[in-house]
Amino acid sequence: MFGTSLRDLMPIILVIAFFQFLVLKQPIPNLGNLLVGTVFVVVGLSLFIRGLNMALFPLGETLAYDFARKGSVFWLLVFAFALGFGTTIAEPALIAVADKAAEVAAVGGMIVDEVTARQEYATGLRITVALSVGIAVVIGVLRILRGWPIQVVIITGYIAVMVMTIFAPKEIIGIAYDSGGVTTSTITVPLVTALGVGLASSIKGRNPMTDGFGLIALASLTPMIFVMAYGMFF
């Protein structure tokens, strides 16, 4: 069980050893810490994969089947929004990015450089991103229900990103582009993937491969658009 995880970790160990010994030519500091940490990572990754197959995948799938059987599109969409919004608002990576963005905005003179102003800006940004992920999951679920091709939805999103880039303040663009990547956490990804695949396999005429995936892609696209919009209006 731990062998697989150790193999997954091997490339990192090799890269670090190569650069540390051959390029930087330095000994490894705190070798004890490094070994203990590696054991933690290996055990943790193995347990996580185990829990993934026991809980996250089955949960996402049964929810999809149950919603499909119930046949209520309204409640399915409410659930989709709650899942997207709820998992994003508390995401630690997003909190870090939002604080950084407030700093950039303050330095760039977009807001007053005060603690309260910064906090307000950061909170507003977090709510904006969480809203955008909620909306993304709703659109993604609608797409699976209706069978819209993913490329049409995503390329429309790309065009929106390009147009917004022209109008958004320069300082916000880097943060906006990065915010797409940070919203999808390690717990959300398996759950949302299982939900999408489960929905696509329980609805007649949908293919789990072509229709089931794509929710994560949408959830990483909409924050870019929304953060640039936030930068323009606040």
Binding site: F40, R50, L63, G86, D178, T186, M209
Partner: protein
């Protein structure tokens, strides 16, 4: 003792992260669907595994890999390392001087992506859904190559100070063109692989690299130029995964036509 304390803290914050998700799922299950969850004991045990596993994983990373990775990123971007010890005063930057940085960016991007738990999850699911047509390792390696290219190009961008959106928009154009020629059933998966690459392992290391670079390269500021690496890391896997699909599609076609040629 310190380690134990730290592990407890991280476990608590992981529970905090998981709580809203569990609350939403169980809330809807009880109030809207009104059916008991199948095999509830197993699911709860699984959630406990996920929480403890993720907490141990994070503590291990924070104890071992991140400090070392951050120190290495600092040392590799240090002008004293890049230009030799005798640097004083002004010097002009050549992008070629940062070759070790690009190589570090590429290899660390590749290796952290291989260990990324959410990518493992998506690869397992894709393998299952495609009935084995998409290999778990094939997908993971394709994504990891994408992240490697993306991050090293991203560090090149920070060194040269060229605008981020030129690269990203060019990447988009690439994705659109590839979408036309890629086998239809892989498109959604390819788009998804952009978002899954950047979570627990990759983001902190890559951020350290970006900040280290933008602090030491003259004329760059961490606040304005330190961003963008994550964007690179989420765009390029889309391109490489579609490339991987095209390649294996093309190979099947070729071997099939070869077989036909032999038979005819």
């Amino acid at each position: 003792m310190d380690l134990l304390h730290h592990t407890m803290n991280v476990t608590l914050s992981t529970i905090q992260d998981v709580f809203p998700i569990v609350a939403i799922i169980f809330g809807f299950q009880w109030l809207v669907i009104r059916r008991p969850i199948h095999n509830i004991k197993r699911v709860i045990a699984g959630i406990v595994y996920v929480v403890i596993g993720l907490a141990l994983f994070l503590v291990g990373l924070e104890e071992a890999l991140f400090p070392l990775g951050e120190v290495m990123a600092k040392q590799l971007t240090d002008p004293a390392f890049i230009y030799g010890k005798a640097v004083e005063g002004l010097y002009t930057i050549h992008w070629q001087d940062y070759v070790w940085v690009y190589l570090f960016a590429a290899t660390i991007g590749f290796s952290t992506t291989i260990a990324e738990p959410s990518l493992i999850a998506v690869a397992i699911k894709a393998n299952e859904v495609s009935a084995g047509a998409v290999g778990v390792w094939g997908l993971r390696i394709a994504v990891a190559i994408g992240v490697a290219i993306g991050i090293s190009l991203g560090t090149y961008r920070i060194v040269t100070g060229t605008p981020l959106h030129y690269y990203i928009i060019t990447g988009y154009v690439f994705v659109v063109i590839q979408t036309i020629y890629t086998p239809k059933n892989i498109i959604a998966l390819a788009y998804d692989s952009g978002g899954v690459t950047t979570s627990t392992v990759t983001v902190p290391l890559v951020t350290a690299l970006g900040l280290g670079l933008s602090e030491t390269v003259p004329g760059r500021s961490p606040l304005m130029d330190g961003f963008g690496l994550i964007a690179f890391a989420s765009l390029f896997p889309i391109i490489t995964v579609m490339g991987y699909a095209q390649l294996s599609h093309w190979r099947t076609l070729r071997s099939r036509s070869r077989l036909q040629a032999k038979g005819g």
